[in-house]
């Protein structure tokens, strides 16, 4: 080993070496004084131990003083100098050694918390294989330009955000979305930097590289969240501002009254509210880091603390409990051919953006050509697939929010809508039709009526499959004592059928979008702490109204992340019980840490004032309490 590598080793492990040396000297000096009568030698060694261990502390203390901050290192330095002045060499060496050991261990454990997120960033490869000028080149991943095509071999990590332009594969998206099962990717699908291509080669057209990738954006947000102070943290910070000066005043006052120097110096040692200040941030940073690795973005300690109090979770039905892929389950014509009902409804709904409208138009396109509208179809630019029918658009059309549409085509009026719309327009529903509607609704389907010039000519039943995970998620929440509610715009019967299938406690049906907000406010007024789960786009207002808004499938959409307090990167309902339990665990963890810290400070103060606790013992308890809260907080990393 040459000199240079020794210096390097020393620099890297300086804190450990200094602590160990001061510890050895302290042990030696103490033994010498205890076992022999070489008191001068013992004192000299103990002073040396204080100097070795205290040099770095005093240096930082100097910086603290010149920068006008009052920190524990200043207090420890004062205490050590004071102890030497009054001849308590053993106490001086012990305080310095215990403090060095404590802060060495603190630094080490905090490093683990601080690097928890970096593991995520390291998922992104440093280089990318790019097709440039017709050949493949290996370039730094950060230098890939938007629009360039990157080739990823099977088993390789994807270096950029982009869209698959060639190839087909299964991609493990766990680093971004937390989903453990690989996702199938083919032409046109979006892929994220940091995910792993498991099967086939993929060619990807870059949409973002370097710091402009979904993973980097998520990590940036996670860090902002970790740094945002929770209400508990800011309360403690305000308290800490007064605590330290107060203890110093107390130390001076105590000396003036009792002339007991040891008592005053001990007060200085415990004058830093250590565990109290350190505990809550460690709990919150650990919890947010844990969540991030499981594909849940928590927006900050404030949201996390509130989420810990949730006692009711409201789910939007469509797209949350269900897959959000509505398909036509059945078409029934009443005196008219089924196909005619469907194609007329499709024409009326053609320009609507409602998810039911999309399903009807798609179903009509896939049906054989209907004989109704005499081939008057207007070719649309977007209908390039020859095997699909083109659907003519209506002459004019109006949306009745939450009820349906009213359109005109070739001189006839077409109404497609629910019972409420029919009632508004005084359209009589024959019992045969009402029976059909009831029967479909009891299966959890949504039915729309198709009305031509005032007569009902048919009905279309639409179905949105439940997510497989939905019943399990509801049960998991109920198991931890949380009420579950489903909110939907669907009619009563459909809602009841779906609610029963999911096993949810309560449902509210026939809600217009703004009604969902009112329902949430009503629950809040009853004293509930409400979480609302939705897609974050259509439900933005109700997510904002709820105490905790949870958006699903947020990896691709910044809007959803913006409005929500918590965002699930994947459409993975299973994460909801996990996130709720983690929040509850965090809330308890913060309380435990605050409790432990307050207890420590109280016991120490009482012990010092009654002279049971002196310098070294005070330091030991102080440092032990700091380590205890850090380790307790870090349990949340592995929750």
């Amino acid at each position: 080993m040459n000199i240079q590598s020794i210096t390097q080793y020393y620099r890297k492990h300086r804190k450990a070496i200094v602590t160990a040396t001061s510890g050895l000297l302290y042990g030696g000096g103490w033994s010498l004084g205890y076992l022999t009568s070489f008191e001068m030698a013992s004192a000299a060694i103990l002073v040396l131990a204080t100097i070795v261990g205290g040099y770095d502390i005093a240096k930082t203390a100097y910086h603290e003083v010149t920068n006008r901050t009052l920190g524990i290192k200043t207090l420890v330095t004062l205490a050590a100098i004071g102890a030497i002045v009054i001849g308590e060499y053993w106490e001086a060496a012990a305080v310095v050694f215990l403090f060095s050991l404590g802060s060495y261990l603190e630094g080490r454990t905090m490093r683990k918390t601080r690097t928890a997120l970096q593991e995520l960033l390291e998922m992104t490869p440093d280089t990318a294989t790019v097709r440039r000028d017709g050949e493949l080149q290996e370039v730094p991943a950060r230098e890939v330009e938007e629009g360039e095509v990157v080739v990823v071999r099977p088993g390789g990590k994807i270096p950029v955000d982009g869209e698959v332009v060639d190839g087909e594969s299964a991609v493990n998206q766990a680093p971004v979305t937390g989903e453990s099962a690989p996702v199938h990717k083919a032409d046109g699908d979006e892929v994220y930097a940091g995910t792993v291509n498991q099967e086939g080669a993929l060619e990807i057209r870059t949409t973002g590289a370097g710091s402009d990738t979904t993973l980097e954006r998520i990590i940036r947000r996670v860090e902002e969240a970790q740094e945002a102070q929770s209400p508990t943290e800011s309360l403690i910070d305000r308290f800490a501002k007064y605590y330290t000066p107060a203890v110093i005043v107390l130390a001076i006052g105590a000396y003036a009254v009792t002339q007991n120097a040891i008592l005053s110096l001990t007060l200085l040692v415990i004058g830093c509210p250590g565990a109290l200040v350190i505990g809550p941030p460690v709990s919150i940073v650990s919890a947010i880091g844990n969540a991030a690795r499981s594909g849940v973005l928590m927006k900050g300690g404030e949201h996390l603390e509130r989420a810990g109090k949730i006692d009711l979770v409201a789910f939007d039905k469509t797209g949350t409990l269900t897959k959000g892929e509505t398909t036509v389950a059945d078409v029934e014509g009443f005196g008219v051919a089924d196909d005619e009902v469907l194609s007329l409804a499709a024409t009326a709904e053609k320009k609507s953006e409602h998810h039911l409208a999309d399903a009807i138009v798609d179903a009509a396109r896939e049906r054989p050509i209907a004989a109704t509208d005499g081939g008057a179809a207007v070719a649309q630019a977007d209908e390039t697939d020859a095997s699909l029918q083109s659907i003519p658009g209506p002459d004019d059309f109006d949306v009745v929010a939450g009820k349906g549409v009213i359109a005109h085509t070739k001189g006839t009026e077409v109404v497609v809508g629910n019972r409420a719309l029919l009632e508004d327009r005084d359209i009589n529903v024959p019992s045969r039709i009402a029976d059909y509607v009831r029967e479909r609704e009891e299966r959890g389907e949504t039915v729309v009526h198709v009305v031509r010039d005032g007569d009902i000519i048919g009905a279309i039943a639409l179905r949105d499959e439940l997510r497989k995970a939905a019943p399990g998620v509801v049960t998991a929440l109920q198991d931890v004592g949380i009420e579950t509610v489903m909110l939907t715009g669907d009619n009563e019967r459909t809602a009841a059928a779906v609610a029963e299938e999911v096993g949810i406690d309560e449902y509210r049906a026939e809600l217009l979008p703004e009604d969902k907000q009112t329902v949430i406010e009503a629950y809040q007024a009853d004293g509930h702490v409400v979480a609302m789960v939705g897609d974050g786009i259509n439900d933005a207002p109700s997510l904002a109204t709820a105490d905790v808004g949870i958006a699903m499938g947020a990896a691709g959409t910044d809007t959803a992340i913006e409005t929500a307090d918590m965002a699930l990167m994947a459409d993975d309902l299973d994460r909801i019980p996990y996130a709720v339990k983690l929040s509850k665990a965090t809330r308890w963890n913060v309380l435990e840490n605050v409790g432990l810290a307050v207890l420590t400070v109280t016991v120490l103060l009482a012990g010092v004032l009654t002279s049971y606790v002196t310098l070294a013992a005070g330091m030991l308890v102080h440092e032990a309490s700091v380590l205890a809260v850090i380790l307790n907080g870090m349990r949340l990393l592995r929750h």
């Binding site: 804190k15 910086h63 290192k73 603190e106 630094g107």
Partner: protein
């Protein structure tokens, strides 16, 4: 022109240490805004690049007894 740079300090061993570094950095010439986060170890410095010397930032952090890493 205003510019921003970041460091990561993994060896902060007490919250006050982070505020001390924050104060020290804000005293460096040309520094407009500094944020030092104890919990994540992230240091963010906004500075006037016609006045400040970015090399001085890492040096300042080291002088306080901590190890800056590029973020």
């Amino acid at each position: 022109m205003s510019d921003t740079t970041q460091f990561r300090v993994l060896d902060f061993d007490c919250p006050t240490c982070a505020s001390t570094v924050e104060r020290a950095l804000s005293n460096v010439d040309g520094v407009q805004h500094v944020e030092v986060h104890y919990a994540t170890g992230r240091v963010e410095i906004e500075y006037d690049d016609s006045v400040a010397d970015p090399d001085a930032f890492a040096q300042t952090i080291e002088n306080q007894g901590y190890t800056p890493q590029p973020a």
